[in-house]
Symmetry: C5
Subunit: 362 residues, 5 copies
């Protein structure tokens, strides 16, 4: 047993991530955004009616369950695990789903259950410091309700909410599957914005690389972009599989007429993916470009300086000659010897300059 | 709600692309070419008859609908969204299709509907400044009509129109599916021309790299070509999938005898794709080649200059020796000491030169 | 036969690995950890009962076979081959399985037999010297028993054992298939920890590369990381296939309700795999980054030094001029000639310095 | 219409390839080898009979059509399009096939028609200047005839013709499908020869890179090889797919007993493909090798020269010291001061030399 | 016909490989090991009996054909083609098989015939000069016999023969399919040994790269390893497909109980393949590592030397100053001027040294 203890010590040295080594199905929050309260934003609507309600009491959400209206319960804050469990148990969510809702590093996926679909995806946005934020979102889609779980308040669904409120668009007349589509569509549309922001950063950096006058070191900046695009890729790539599977799923939850929309969504996520791959290639290529630029600039410096040395070395030699103390150096006694030498030196100077110019070394 | 507002501010900072965050199916033009009028070029033909008509009034197109003739309606200009919607509704196009027609960054794709096929592709050409222009084209293929939507006037279909007018070729006697094939064939043939132009640019640049006397910096030029080939690839690669699916589609719209032609078209698009991949590899290889060339040239310069220094440094040392002021330096008092030294110096000079030559350093 | 003998000599020169060239199915230990005794850790439980027993006598394990309880026999130490054979024969394991249990370089795999499943996997951990240890583990899953074989004592199952002991979690009420899942889950969870440790090492090294002041040579360190990630990859990648196959296997041994858990496990192993691929790319990228950093630093040094030389070379030339012994050098006889020259030299010095600064070479 | 005209001007600027923008199915020669006459080489044989006939009149070929004998019509020269059309119409070839026969940049492919198979492939050989020639060959395989179309006279089928003439081998007793196999076999065998020639060129270049004394620039040579292997690859890779499809085709034209031979052919084309891939990798690797070799050589030069400078710089400094004009420099008045200094200089010289040697810098 | 002759001349210039351009199915030896005699090593066994017999007369092998015993005929030497043909005809082998037996560059493959299986594989070993030898082996597996064909005597089957002789292992009681498995198993086990030898070479070279004091050029050595691993890969990779197909073949020749063993064999060949891929990556990485090492070392040299120059250049300038012949240089007339200057020089010397040290340039 001594050995086992030793291993255990090692195991802690490895610094296990939070929530690891727990019973599978244990609901333990793994993210960073710990808020004290869980807020629920409940939208209940049908073609005719619309009501919106915000609360901190989870049980308030239970009364919206009547089959005629579609209910969208948006849960902000995952750190109060007990609230999640209460909700989860009310909607009869499998323990593994409850675990996935609060496991913020869970990759995007779709799970089919008889009564509902469970979809995990990531919401990306840049914060005030232009740092890419990756928010874990889960969605449960039932017959007449959709529950979404976010880490914090603030999301990309405000346009959707407004459309719901004003009764514009198809969404008010449609079922929960169209709401699911509308939510995913908002997320994917937001990916386009993120990619545009990213593309902007890449182009700005590219211009800086070419125009650089300050000899800055861009290695870290490029490395940072590399990590950022990888982060985006980890969010976007698996969602493509999710939507692809959503297209093929046979479930009464998704109506025939929604499938055209999901098809369209799949087109969009493929397009985002292509952008990601292209910018990934470009960012990787930036390193090569940067190295070429550096070595071009360095070469320019070295060349000019070396040429300078090459011109003065023969001149110094000439001066050295007439600094010698031989008893008999005839040139020294010429009347204008000194000026002749200056003439020779100027000739050599411009001769070499002309030679280097002709060789295109200058 | 304060948080939500903050997020919203961020979202605008990300600068969303036009038409994003709209209700799916909203028809909003996303391109740059905004013209004031939409022009329609209508060709109506059967084996015996042929008529061509140009108009700015969308409703003029509706009268050409009789089952015997094939009608080709070519729409130039997508910025007058209302005209597109009018046409779309007349032909009973799904809202998502109407959206795709004006979403100029939609990638090439094919959608099957019961009454028609919807195909999106890109028309490539170089403008006067040799800038690659990527024009978004959509095509709706019905039983006895084809509608094409372009961003601006001017296209690659003039040969096809002429053939239609003169009654040459198979097209006059065939159905709308053959017209669809002929349009796609013209587009793919044009890709061959674009690739030839591109291949020309690559070869010219390659020659410049090898012959370069001016020490130009080609990094940006190579980078530009990289982006251009990526742009072509984004247009061509998905069209291959489109045509592949066109081959396999089971629809009454496509006749048995046309399938041989589509087969042939698929061969051509594969060939274009291969060219694209080959030139992509070549352009990527250009960077390596450029760096080798630069470093070869730099090495040549540095070597010659370093050798120059290496020859004069010992000579300067020799002159230095006899510039010393020791009371007793016997050589200084030799009668021809000065000339002996010159002899020694010339010997050293040519000795080193010969040594470097023999070592192949010069 | 002389030739055959010669070949044989060669064959030994090739240094065959242990246990190779034996009859297939021969049970011969190939690992390094040779312990004198085999210890067995037997856990026998049902929903109500729990007992744990440790022994060095293999035959002690045989009495735990009654159909109501689930028995988990954990065997530590594979070098006493006879013990393995005794156990193997008791459980009627195929000779090839017995061979795989002691062949420590066997890659992860799953074999289906009628009476049991046989799974091979790797347990990874870092030892005290931060060296990655790769322990070969085999598992036989029967109707009411699970036998695991490890090379040495100490493992990642202590949490699981505790849960079994305290009757917490689902495991006590479930069948042997859930125990199998729980064991694999512990292993995969541990991969996450290993990857976190690895990611830490990569980030530390990355920081060191950027901040390096000591001009250390990181080539070997990077090479070492490369090998380590390859080692992890060899353990993790095939397990993914194993779990994928476990999902699809049709066997009475795995109950319907366990399949959701295996599904979840598959999600996790994919996630580990993605991490492995990302860190592999990063480590490969480190070499490039290191080279860029080195050459940036080298360039900085060379530039400063070359500039220094470039400034003093013209100055030395100027001093050389007035060291010449011409009879008539008018400047030498100016009263303040020496000081004038100093003035000129200081001018040249600061002039060049200013020029280099303006050119951003300093 | 003004715009359309402008676009058209652009289109010509893109310089469309010959035969592009024509009606699909138009038969227009696109190659370079324009000969004035089309020659036909007709071999007519059965197990018992053999006759060979050469003519310039296409219609002569039509009389050889009797079901008992196999007729092989080999057409040399594709520029007289009318002859091709006459032949094509006689054999009832689809217009697209007639187009492919004369479109010399058509990639290898196989088309199945009810009455015949149509196969396009490339014949490779090196001309007198060791330039790789890529000849477009088409083959129509009917029930009792094979027609092959080549760009010019001279091919790799002479061995086959001889075997046919002498009645050796299986070919005389077999059907047209075996003749088809024999022709493809000759082509693939020739690919082996081409690859051997290519492998020879690569090895010669590799040796030159290592032994290079002349500081030649091999960049262009490597670039040329790159293009050559790409050319071979474009010919060989699609033929593999062709033969693979030939294996799987269900047609009465191919007898059961021939399929073993086609199987064997497929093995060979895979082997050629593997060679192509290996040499492609090697040629790409040559560039790296070349750069390493160059930079090794450059380093050697720079090192020796820099060391030379480093030795003479301190010596020159020493000489400079005693060239100073201080009133009181005691060493100058030592009797043997000059010789002492020489001694010191020689010491420094050899000391530095020894130091550099010990550091392995020389 | 003149053209045809010219082409033919070219064709010989391409230097066709032996046995190419022959009738398909022609049996012509293509290897290098030409021995005068073919030796046969015949082992005939059943569970009870065992006899071994060696002969040079092919016909001797024919008498061992009785259905009860398993006969293993091992043929050494492929250059006496007549012997191969005699044997081949006796066992009714297809002409293509007979061709493949003697075509030593045939890649590994499996062919199914009704009466037998035909398997081609490669036996790898290192000769005395550590050169990798690639021996072509073919195997025909019939109902009660196995015939193996090798290029030369000496193989990896001695352990197997011994097991057969001593009646150890399963092989004596099993059918010809188990013998086939045992032979392939010996070959694959030998691949492990070869990979171990190779891995050793890679590690030795890696160590040499890091510790290199002699400035050796390792480019050729790395290039050699690259070719060696490619050679191994060409032998091993296709065998994987062969064994995979062996697993899936439905033939009465392979018994149910043998399939577990073939399964195991497939595991092993995958493992070898993984090793090959890993070492391939490593060897490719060696080049990068080597270049980094070289450039690190070069940088070290250049830096020290440049620093040396940078220290002496200002000192030489100082000496130059006081070598000038101005009438009035006050310092020259100071009593201890010379010593003051020495002091200043020593200050500058150590000052610069300290500065470079602080900047970590030394």
């Amino acid at each position: 047993m001594a050995t086992a203890a030793r291993i255990k010590k090692k195991a802690t040295k490895i610094a296990p991530s939070k929530a690891k080594n727990l019973t599978p199905g244990t609901v333990a929050y793994t993210g960073k955004k710990t808020t004290t309260v869980t807020t629920l934003d409940i939208i209940d609507y049908s073609k005719e009616n619309f009501s919106r309600f915000q609360t901190n009491v989870v049980e308030d959400a239970f009364k919206y369950e009547d089959a005629d209206n579609i209910t969208w319960i948006n849960v902000n804050g995952l750190s109060n695990v007990q609230d999640i469990v209460t909700l989860g148990n009310h909607f009869e969510l499998h323990p593994l789903i409850q675990e996935d809702i609060v496991t913020t590093n869970q990759r995007p996926k779709i799970d089919e259950y008889e009564e509902y679909l469970f979809i995990v995806f990531k919401m990306l946005h840049y914060d005030e410091n232009e740092k890419l934020i990756n928010e874990h979102v889960s969605m449960v889609v039932g017959k007449d309700y959709v529950v979404t779980f976010q880490e914090a308040e603030g999301d990309v669904f405000d346009d959707l909410r407004e459309r719901l409120g004003h009764g514009k668009g198809r969404v008010r007349g449609a079922k929960s599957d169209y709401l699911m589509f509308a939510i995913l569509d908002a997320v994917v549309d937001n990916y386009f914005s993120v990619m545009e922001f990213m593309s902007n950063k890449v182009e700005v950096l590219e211009d800086k690389l070419f125009d650089d006058k300050e000899n800055e070191d861009f290695t870290q900046e490029i490395q940072y972009l590399k990590k950022e695009i990888l982060k985006i890729r980890r969010a976007v790539l698996p969602l493509r599989e999710v939507i692809n599977r959503l297209e093929k799923i046979e479930t009464p939850l998704i109506e025939e007429r929604t499938s055209k929309y999901i098809n369209d969504l799949y087109d969009h996520i493929i397009q985002v993916n292509e952008s990601v791959e292209i910018y990934r290639d470009m960012i990787w290529g930036l390193m090569d470009m940067y190295m070429t630029t550096i070595s071009n600039k360095m070469n320019e410096v070295m060349k000019v300086l070396t040429i300078m040395a090459s011109i003065f070395i023969p001149l110094t030699f000439m001066a050295g000659i007439y600094g010698m103390n031989f008893d008999y150096i005839p040139e020294l006694h010429l009347k204008y010897g000194y000026f002749y030498l200056w003439g020779a030196m100027i000739l050599v100077f411009f001769g070499l300059l002309w030679y280097f110019k002709r060789k295109k070394w200058l």
